[in-house]
Symmetry: C2
Subunit: 340 residues, 2 copies
């Protein structure tokens, strides 16, 4: 048996996640049985989706059960194995949870564990080449269907998904407008956005109007609220609203819908949600492209690392306050990732 | 020159349409030039879409200009012609406007004038085989894509579009649930709905939950508001929300969006708007099918007729109050339609 600290969901949060919702337990984990392997988690991805997984509402994946380890996507290394395909030393990523160790048979919650190549560090495997990058990839290319010359507006453009969407949108030949706070302006321009709209200054509506003279063909939404409404107002005929997230609504006790949704009729536009996990059959293909873009420098990322499993709540809070300055990660003590 | 009374848009309504917004003018119309024909309008279709056409907002078709005749789809008969394809006596339907006579060259506002067969009365040509029926046809089949066994929920199920959607949904093998006021219950069941939910009784949410044990595959929305929110809560994975209208919002000074729109993400569902006029290349095909269903008795309709051009505002008010008991029409004095 090994010591295995893990965060468990003890109560479903109302509003922001608190220390009575998620509690750190000092528990133990056994050695792998035949067909299993033991992973030491080195880095945990802290994602807005976690808020949804804590809620009791039905969704694409069942809620985390009360008393169970909190769900999270992590990277780690196999430290003991009785599974031929995942020998000791293999670097892996999967739904290992917010904890120090996990046992697996190759699946975690029905989703396949994936190998990480030696030249891809944990933070890239969990960032532009992981959930965030692949979410951007499938959302933009499958749901948004960009054509060169399309005007693409991206909210939370400085966030991990948004930053990848901005970069992929440029690769696809779009005119890219990022929505982000003014202090993130340079970062978003650095990712390749042609223009940045500061949502904190109010009047997003007027600024989008001024910048989107050709209207909006694709709006990639991570936030909901006023930005979604402003984008709907300018959506073009046949436009696509890619619903990726609605972080302005996740902690809201009384969520607000997009008042301008009827523009979808006049513009025969589509608003469609999607879920990363649905694309599992295409993960390998997308991952290879993203790795290559990472290797060539075409796809970059910023990371924001909090150290130590005991600081998980702080890392989660950063995501919901929007105070992270890149992909939010939690690095565990004694982590051994690939070279950065 | 002939006397030609016509309703003109003098002011853009705020809230409900009033007698200072639309004003009846006593004017004159000339005889057709070469390539033109003169139509005596016999029946005018009164549609919720008219409210949108009066608004200054950009839409699929330009707003009616102030001082111009109000746009409307009507049926009539050619009473003078210098156009080979539309000889005197031809029964026609088109965007002739809310007036007694119109001159045409075969197009009205860019949309083709269509012939009405002898055995199809005005009210059918303007109802289940006209805008309402074709809107139901394209919305359900192109946007909703029903499969036998799908659960289809239709709001404003007793309305002209809703009633056609219920009937077409049954033809497609769907399990059909209509949302309508309790006094329309029998009418909706008569159209073939398996169940009717009374939206006036409140708690639409609980009733939909009880009736849609398999969730909702297609929600055909004519109303928006609380019914849309309740349907989103039960939408199935891959479900389709067909945005046809939002009559609860048209007269609202402060429109409200669907608070549950984020269900589209968890359920990878699609909300898509559409516009009847986009399907012009398929009108002839759809019309022939609808005529045949009408002739065989598979597609029926209720009509609610107001008599006399001077009562147009009353007919419009009926649509927005929901007090009409079928397709709302305005019959002009001296009308000569086909046999009913």
């Amino acid at each position: 048996m090994m010591r295995n600290r893990e965060w468990r969901l003890e109560r479903r949060p109302e509003g922001a996640v608190s220390s009575t919702d998620l509690v750190l337990h000092d528990s133990q984990i056994g050695m792998p049985d035949r067909g299993q392997f033991l992973v030491r988690v080195t880095t945990v991805s802290i994602d807005p989706a976690m808020r949804g997984w804590m809620s009791p509402l039905r969704s694409y994946i069942p809620p985390v059960a009360l008393g169970q380890p909190m769900r999270a996507i992590s990277a780690g290394v196999v430290i003991a194995s009785r599974h031929a395909e995942f020998p000791e030393g293999t670097r892996v990523t999967g739904l290992f949870g917010l904890r120090e160790h996990a046992l697996s048979d190759g699946l975690m919650e029905g989703v396949g564990v994936r190998r990480i190549p030696d030249d891809i560090p944990d933070e890239v495997a969990l960032g532009t080449c992981g959930l965030a990058g692949m979410t951007a990839y499938f959302g933009l290319f499958d749901v948004g269907r960009p054509a060169p010359g399309d005007t693409l507006v991206v909210s939370a453009a400085a966030g991990s998904v948004g930053s990848a969407v901005v970069q992929l949108g440029r690769l696809a030949g779009c005119h890219v407008i990022g929505v982000a706070s003014s202090r993130r302006r340079e970062a978003v321009l650095g990712d390749g956005a042609h223009e940045v709209v500061d949502y904190t200054g109010g009047d997003v509506d007027q600024r989008l109007k001024a910048l989107c003279r050709q209207g909006i063909d694709i709006y990639f939404d991570n936030v909901g609220g006023a930005v979604l409404d402003a984008a709907l107002k300018r959506i073009n005929t046949g436009g696509r609203v890619v619903l990726c997230g609605g972080i302005s609504q996740y902690n809201a006790r009384k969520p607000v819908g997009p008042a301008n949704y009827l523009a979808l009729i006049g513009q025969r536009a589509t608003m469609r949600g999607f879920v990363y996990f649905d694309y599992e059959s295409q993960f390998a293909m997308a991952e290879h492209r993203l790795w290559d873009w990472h290797r060539s420098g075409a796809l970059r990322q910023r990371v924001d690392i909090v150290d130590g499993i005991e600081h998980a709540l702080q890392a989660i809070a950063r995501v919901f306050e929007g105070s992270n300055t890149g992909k939010q990660l939690l690095r565990l003590h004694g982590a051994t990732g690939g070279e950065s």
